[in-house]
Amino acid sequence: MTDDTRTMRPTGPSRRDLGRWTLAAGGFALAASSPLRFARAADPVKVGVLLPRSGHLALIGQACQRGADISVPILADLGYAVELMNADTESSPDVGRTQAEKLIREGAHVLMGCFDSATTAAVAQVAEQRGVPFVVNIAADPKITEQGYRYVFRNFPTSAMLGMGGLSLLNDLFQATGATPKTAVLMHVNDSFGQSMLGGINALAPKIGLPFEIVETIAYDPKARDLSVEVAKAKAAGADLHLVVTRLNDAILMVREMVKQRYEPMGIISPGSPGMYEKQFFKTLGKNADYCITNVAWFDPKQELNGVLQSAFEAAHPEETYELNVGFTFEAVLVAADAAKRAGSTDPQALTEALRATNLSNRVMLGGPISFDEKGQNLNIKSAAIQNRDGRPEVVLPAPNATMEPVFPMPGWGSRG
């Protein structure tokens, strides 16, 4: 009877099966309706990109954005799945904070940005409060990684690292070329950046033991239309070396005046400021742009990934400069993608743990493998001396990474063919 009963049992689902299925369906519906915070590993990691694409930092913000945009297809080829969620900080810390909140609300797994230190500090607070990891692409203020934040990771040198790297390369340059200047004139843009660089140079110079004395310091208006007087003053100082802290337009004005006034120091060297490696500088000054030297955190020409990024960037943006803003922003996305891949999850805690364990040797910028100390700072970033040669910036120091030998003293303006 029992057997009969068994054979007569209907073949459809039992009440128990129905209960199980209902629970499973309910669970699935619940998961689908809630924010997808625990995605599968194959899902792309959503990177909230915070950059100043408008406002007074717009030009650099857009340069960084190009670095972020171009990272997606390159990283896909390397097996990383990344989705960017772009937000404009409008060059304002307040807007940056609001945008960070919005990106987290909309499902960003990790934040990335913000180019300027003030906005980066504001976003770091949001990341910390909301427990979402934040990878800093560019921002040099040391305080950002000195606050004891648990979710902030910076793959960019602090201003102290930049200053030290930029100045110590001067001695390497003099040693490599066998030419040592005895005096220097320092010409700098008179804004907060120029003043902080000036402070850094004055503080670090005695520690590093620079062989020259700065005989004249000339500050000029950041909105200067003409630098003829400033250059005449520098020429009158009769110093061997012309040290500069510039931005782009003033760097062009300065070199143009130096040529007109036939002011020919041993070299024009920036210990870590923008301007002289940018495309517009080469385009405007032609052969007179050559032999200027900038000591700055730069690409490693010996890294294979740098070649891949450079080719892709130059194909996509032939009119734009391939420079450090592009490189560090690319690396920030790479760091986030690598952490997500290793974590196998987009859970913020798992991502944060993975970021802390980062050890990426396949990178584009100069230095050792990307890794973070207990404060979230990458200490493996090196500065390079890049010299303008034949219309493009070339790494001339450190020697193992160099593509050309440094030329110092530079040839005179009239002897450049």
């Binding site: 208006d221 239309r225 003409d226 005449a232 007109k260 036939r262 007179n288 303006w413």
Partner: protein, 288 residues
């Protein structure tokens, strides 16, 4: 050391001559219409962009494109006065100020939309050349620009002095009612005057682009500079504007060299305050 001072003095004078031509336009407009052109710097920047565009499109040297730019600005200035500003000539000063300030904002925003915020220069073969006269190095571009400015100022002076139209404009400036009584079309002469002022500043823009890279935000600086120069020289005074330009050029050069380059503008303003205290009508202005 003497050669350095000579170089700086000469460079200051040469830049000042171009400043003078720019301010001349403002002075001419005020002298006749009694309208203060708050969009003066914006018109200068349009002249600079005009020369920049003509160089980009046809490879024209700004010295050669100067007549085209000046002509275009004459037409624009004539139309502006005829179509808009003539309606405001009899209105209180503050309404005129607001109108021209608004016009200046519209022009700067339009330039930003068209050209973006980047500085743009005109690359020339002789941009880096200098003449060597004894111990003095004369920047070739600055010499050309200053010579152009002085020649144009002389031509303008001859126009006002010797031509029938120039005399009619001066008659309007001296006595508007009298000019109307003898049958002059005052509103048309006003439009011609504004056109001449605009052409002057357009020509100055063509010359200035040889010295300075152009971007839309330059406009406010140039409006302010033009005001300082004409107040120094005497509002409405022809030669006063040129003298004021040279004085500002010299004070910028000397203060930048002897004291601190960051304080260059401070000395222009200091000079202005001094003149306002000691000779309020300006160095060459007529006492009211």
């Amino acid at each position: 050391m003497l050669s350095i001072y000579l170089n700086i003095l000469v460079a200051g004078c040469l830049t000042g001559a171009v400043y003078g031509l720019m301010a001349l336009g403002l002075s001419v407009i005020f002298g006749v219409l009694r309208v203060v052109n708050f969009a003066h710097g914006e018109m200068m920047v349009i002249g600079m962009f005009g020369a920049f565009l003509l160089h980009g499109a046809f490879g024209l040297d700004p010295m050669l494109s100067l007549p085209i730019v000046a002509g275009a600005l004459f037409v624009a200035g004539y139309g502006l006065q005829r179509g808009l500003i003539n309606r405001y000539v009899a209105m209180p000063d503050h309404i005129q100020f607001l109108l021209l300030l608004a016009l200046g904002l519209v022009l700067t925003s339009s330039n930003l939309m068209l050209f973006g915020p980047d500085a743009r220069g005109v690359p020339l073969d002789y941009a880096f050349d200098s003449f060597e006269v004894g111990p003095v190095l004369l920047d070739k571009v600055r010499v050309y620009a200053a010579s152009g400015a002085v020649l144009l100022a002389l031509a303008l002076w001859a126009f006002f002095r010797f031509t029938h139209l120039g005399k009619a404009i001066r008659a309007c400036a001296d006595n508007q009612v009298g000019a109307q009584v003898i049958g002059l079309d005052v509103l048309k002469l006003y439009a011609v005057t504004f056109g001449i002022g605009a052409a002057c500043v357009g020509a100055a823009g063509s010359l200035m682009v040889l010295l300075v890279d152009v971007h839309p935000y330059l406009a406010a600086d140039y409006t302010l500079l033009a005001f300082i120069i004409v107040i120094l020289g005497g509002l409405g005074s022809f030669w006063g504007a040129l003298l004021g330009g040279v004085l500002v050029g010299l004070s910028e050069a000397l203060s930048g060299f002897l004291i601190a380059p960051s304080l260059k503008s401070m000395f222009s303003f200091g000079l202005l305050i001094l003149v306002l205290l000691l000779r309020p009508q300006g160095l060459m202005g007529a006492r009211q």
